[in-house]
């Protein structure tokens, strides 16, 4: 058990309940938990106690009254003692006292508060003993007083006043000496009151006498005045006063008016300063508009509307009207600016925002969108006009120089036009779309939801894109097939260099289109306008493809005219010229170009081949091969001039200069044959190669077209064969009859026939000539022609035999038989069944040999013929041996 706590200090030593008290002392506890009791004036304050150290505790006083000890109790030291005391008091709250409680001030407090009485009702008379009541608060207990003087009162003014009470109450601490002095004081006071009026007069004799003197003086002066001014001095006085008033007024009126003016001016000035903002606003608005500081204007306007919007002051209203007018002007100006193109989209947006904040009653964004769209359309038209004009001018220039219309799709101007239009559309549509996005996102106020605005806007986009599409079609695609064909001639004429240029342009244009398309895709445009653009691109690609194919077609067509008939190669299908190779090359070239330039689809583009345009265009191209390979028209002159023999001689003279001395190349018949070979070769080889090329480029193989072409080529071959036969066989056959009847037609019946008539040899020779010609050109394919001719010859023989039967003489019969026999032998390898039939038919009309000697002779003659004609026969059948 330690020493008990001792409180030796208290701060403050007095206060109302709740005072924060610092208690100091010794042994106030070893820790916060050691403190188990705290009493201030008997009130338990442990709850609020805050243990700081063993020397210090902070607590709040309780609701105690009066003086009392501070008792600290600790676990370690027990209950303590206190050398100091705390006095608690309850504060009476007055009007000037700071209090947390609201003091009702209207009703005066009945009990006196503070030292000094505040109203007469609460006036406490001064101490009758003349002693200070300040000081000792040691009050005599009121209860005791009541006990001592049950019917008394301490109040001096009360009837039942008890002096003892008063003394005890007020002077319980006063010393005896003081009380005695008070007694003397009171006695003097009472005596003073008793002495009364006499005492007053005695004390103030001098003053009274002086007053009397003054009164006499006054009376004298008054009487003198009366004498001077008469009995009624007032009127004159009044007049004088009035006069002075007027004078004073006149004196001051000027000053007063000046003061009034000054006041007014000051007032006006202060008003001006106070509402400087308002008064300077019109000028500021002008200034800011001039500086394009529209935000400032809008802010100012909003502010002024806020501040003075509801003002009743005329002047303000006037200024406001002025401001409103200016703002209206600004609105109009802004609106114009929105509609004035070209304009930066950001600026436009800014202006729209401004208009919105200025409460413009239109739908600014919509107006902007509309004007932007109109501008786009107008620009597109303008670009179109510009380039059309340029093109026309160019065309005119060219017309002067070359008189050749330029292909509308490939001119440089068109390319520029396309590029310009693409850039324009991409840029403007992007702007328009961005604006619309803002608008429909509600960023630009207005009423994006009203009146199918979305729909309208979509229509707008589509409209502009369609316009673009139309222009581009006009620009890039010829007006129709005719235009393409017209351009085609020129393109064909332009040749290889032109082709390169066209290709470059095509690629360039396509790139521009695609870039634009990419840009539009990036914008997230709806699919409809995109598909329009895509359509243009697709058409252009298709057009490009068509152009390539048409160019190929033209080149193929021109192949016919360029045929040189120079044999370049002998194939198993006969001798061919360069034409089939060129044909193949052209087609392959076209395919390559198509593949390189237009085939690959860009992003979100249809594959090119979907429309089947390639198939469509491949067909005429391939079909054109047939006419290109066609035989040349017969050279009339040559044909007319050349006798049969000349015609037959030609193959032999091939290497020699022609009779006319000109190197004309192969003769017409040869060309015919070459053409046939070409057709054959094309049919067998080139077309297959072309089909492979299609496959190689992943194009669908135009099987049908190839089939048709093959058929056409077959027909061509047939036609050529027929023509050749006609031209070769007819004269040959035609010679048979005259030759047969030439000379000794009528054979002597008894004559021993030793040999066939010359016509047989002629036929054989002619056949040899034909064979040689055909073989030289067609090689292995030549049999067909010889066969056909043989057949014709046999047919003619049969006809002749039927027309003039060799019956009658034995010799004639023998000769006829011999001749047929010889022919049969000669043509053996070329005879078809039909030809043999003809020969049989002819033989049938000849009477059979009746005599053995005739038979023998026939055999001998045939053998002899074989021997004699061995060389000829060999040449006629050569190809069989070769093969």
């Amino acid at each position: 058990m330690g020493p008990p706590p001792v409180v030796t200090g208290i701060s403050p030593k007095e206060g109302p309940p709740g005072t924060r008290v610092t208690i100091r002392g010794e042994f106030l506890g070893t820790s916060a938990t050691d403190l188990i009791g705290l009493k201030i004036c008997g009130c338990d304050c442990l709850l609020s106690a805050e243990w700081k150290s063993k020397n210090k505790i902070i607590a709040r006083s309780g609701p105690c009254k009066g003086r009392g000890d501070i008792i600290v109790t600790t676990r370690s030291g027990g209950e303590g003692t206190s050398t100091v005391q705390f006095r608690g008091y309850h504060e009476s709250i007055g009007p000037v006292k700071e209090s947390a409680v609201w003091v009702e001030e209207s009703a005066p407090l009945s009990l006196p508060w503070g030292r000094r009485p505040m109203s007469p009702t609460t006036y406490t008379p001064p101490d009758p003993l003349g002693l200070s009541t300040e000081g000792d608060d040691c009050k005599f207990p009121e209860e005791e007083l009541h006990e001592l003087y049950p019917d008394g009162s301490g109040n001096l003014s009360d009837e039942n006043f008890e002096p003892g009470w008063y003394l005890l109450e007020h002077h319980s601490n006063t010393s005896y000496e003081d009380l005695k002095a008070g007694m003397v004081f009171l006695q003097r006071k009472v005596e003073g009151q008793k002495e009364g009026q006499l005492h007053l007069l005695k004390a103030n004799t001098g003053a009274v006498m002086e007053q009397l003197d003054r009164l006499v003086l006054l009376k004298n002066m008054f009487e003198e005045d009366e004498r001077k001014a008469g009995r009624e001095p007032l009127p004159s006085l009044q007049a004088a006063i009035e006069e002075s008033i007027t004078l004073a007024d006149s004196l001051f009126s000027e000053i007063l008016s000046r003061k009034d003016n000054a006041d007014k001016t000051r007032e006006a000035l202060s008003l001006l300063t106070r509402h400087k903002f308002l008064f300077q606003l019109p000028a500021n608005i002008d200034k800011n508009i001039k500086k394009k500081d529209y935000d400032l204007v809008v802010n100012d306007y909003a502010r002024v509307k806020n501040l003075f919007g509801n003002t009743d002051v005329k002047l303000f209203q006037k200024i406001l009207a002025d401001i409103d007018r200016k703002i209206d002007d600004l609105k109009t100006k802004l609106r114009e600016q929105i509609q004035t193109m070209p304009i930066n989209i950001q600026d436009q947006r800014k202006y729209i925002r401004l208009l919105i904040s200025l409460n413009w009653d239109g739908d600014a964004a919509w107006v902007a969108i509309n004007s932007r769209k109109d501008y786009l359309m107008a620009l597109l038209d303008k670009v179109k006009d510009h380039f059309k004009q340029k093109e026309e001018q160019e065309a005119a220039d060219k017309g002067k120089r070359k008189s050749k219309p330029d292909s509308s799709g490939w001119s440089a101007a068109a390319g520029e036009w396309l590029a310009a239009a693409c850039a324009l559309l991409a840029e403007q549509l992007a702007a328009l779309w961005t604006l619309a996005k803002w608008y429909f996102a509600g960023e630009l106020a207005g009423s994006p939801t009203a009146n199918n605005r979305q729909e309208q806007f979509k229509q707008m986009i589509i409209e502009s894109v369609e316009l673009f599409a139309t222009h581009m079609r006009g620009c890039l695609l010829p007006a129709g097939g005719a235009g393409g064909a017209g351009g085609g001639g020129a393109g064909g004429g332009a040749g290889g260099a032109g082709a390169e240029r066209v290709r470059a342009r095509l690629v360039e244009n396509l790139r521009a289109l695609r870039e634009m398309y990419e840009a539009l895709i990036k914008l997230d445009l709806p699919s409809q306008p995109l598909s329009i653009v895509e359509g243009v691109i697709f058409e252009y690609r298709a057009h490009g493809m068509t152009a390539f194919l048409q160019r190929a077609l033209r080149r193929v067509n021109s192949l016919a005219g360029q045929e040189t008939w120079r044999i370049v190669e002998f194939t198993e299908y006969g001798a061919i010229t360069n034409t089939p190779h060129e044909l193949e090359a052209i087609v392959k070239d076209a395919l390559t170009q198509i593949h390189e330039c237009v085939f690959a689809p860009g992003r979100r583009e249809r594959p090119l081949l979907e429309a089947g345009a390639l198939q469509q265009h491949s067909r005429p191209l391939l079909l054109a091969a047939a006419p290109a390979l066609d035989h040349p028209p017969p050279d009339q002159q040559e044909f007319n001039n050349s006798s049969l023999s000349v015609a037959l001689d030609q193959p032999l003279d091939e290497t020699l200069p022609h009779s006319a001395g000109q190197d004309r190349g192969p003769s017409w018949q040869q060309r015919l044959l070459i053409a046939a070979c070409n057709a054959h070769y094309t049919r067998k080889v080139t077309l297959n190669n072309i089909a492979k090329a299609y496959e190689q480029y992943e194009f669908p193989v135009p099987t049908l077209a190839i089939q048709t072409t093959k058929e056409a080529l077959s027909n061509l071959e047939a036609t050529i064969a027929e023509t050749y036969l006609e031209h070769k066989g007819d004269p040959l056959v035609g010679t048979i009859e005259p030759s047969m009847y030439m000379g000794r037609h009528k054979v002597d019946p008894d004559e021993v026939v030793e040999d066939a008539r010359p016509y047989v040899y002629e036929i054989i020779n002619n056949l040899i000539a034909v064979h040689a010609e055909v073989d030289s050109v067609c090689g292995s394919a030549s049999t067909r022609y010889v066969r056909d001719i043989c057949e014709t010859v046999c047919e003619e023989l049969a006809r002749l035999a039927a027309a003039a039967p060799a019956g009658g003489s034995r010799a004639a019969a023998f000769r006829a038989r011999l001749e047929y026999r010889l022919l049969h032998v000669a043509c053996q390898s070329h005879l078809t069944r039909k030809a043999e039939n003809y020969l049989m038919e002819a033989l049938a009309s000849v009477p059979p040999l009746e005599f053995d000697e005739d038979k023998k002779r026939m055999e001998v003659l045939v053998e002899d013929f074989k021997k004699r004609m061995e060389l000829q026969l060999a040449s006629l059948n050569s190809n069989m041996e070769i093969v």
Partner: protein
């Protein structure tokens, strides 16, 4: 003396006066509890009492630490009346507080009505010599004029703290013994008051 007081040690009532913030409470707390309080909190009216040994005799010292602020000037009279000795404190760094001592002196003399009341003029904050703004001459001059001792103290360093309290108690003690000797003869006004209280 009162019969009650004979049991308990003699009590000397000391009152601290002076302007706000000169260090009255700091001196008191340093004397009472050997602690120096750094933070300033204006005092209203604090009371301290403890036993000390004065020249071998056990006495009790009662210290009334008063408010320096002018707000409380009105209630000072009451406090002063009960005081037996006064420590009039000023700060040597603050001339205004030195000037105010004059006023306190006058008020004490008026209330106590005694020229020879135990009184010490104390110049506090002597540790802040470099900030000194009241010259030592002026202080000693004023003390001489009043015929009171002048002591410079430092509540911070405890320099002269015990001295001022013990010197004052000695003064009070000698005054009391003078009074008791003179009580049979002529009686002072202030003392007779106390005497009357006892009777009542």
């Amino acid at each position: 003396m009162a019969p009650r007081a004979t049991a308990a040690p003699t009590l000397h009532k000391v009152i601290m006066v002076g302007s706000g913030g000169v260090g009255k409470s700091a001196l008191t707390l340093q004397f009472m509890y050997d602690e120096f309080v750094e933070d300033y909190e204006p005092t209203k009216a604090d009371s301290y009492r403890k036993k000390v040994v004065l020249d071998g005799e056990e006495v009790q010292i009662d210290i009334l630490d008063t408010a320096g602020q002018e707000d409380y000037a009105a209630i000072r009279d009451n406090y002063f009346r009960s005081g037996e000795g006064f420590l009039c404190v000023f700060s040597i760094t603050e001339p205004e507080s030195f000037d105010a001592t004059q006023e306190f002196r006058e008020q004490i003399l008026r209330v106590k009505n005694d020229e020879n009341i135990p009184f010490l003029l104390v110049g506090n904050k002597s540790d802040l010599q470099e900030k000194r703004r009241v010259p030592l001459d002026a202080c000693t001059e004023r003390a001489a004029a009043w015929r009171v001792p002048y002591v410079e103290t430092s509540a911070k360093t405890r320099d002269n703290v015990d001295k001022v309290f013990f010197d004052l108690m000695r003064e009070i003690r000698s005054r009391k013994s003078d009074d008791s000797r003179a009580s049979n003869g002529q009686v002072k006004k202030g003392k007779s008051k106390r005497f009357k209280c006892q009777i009542l």
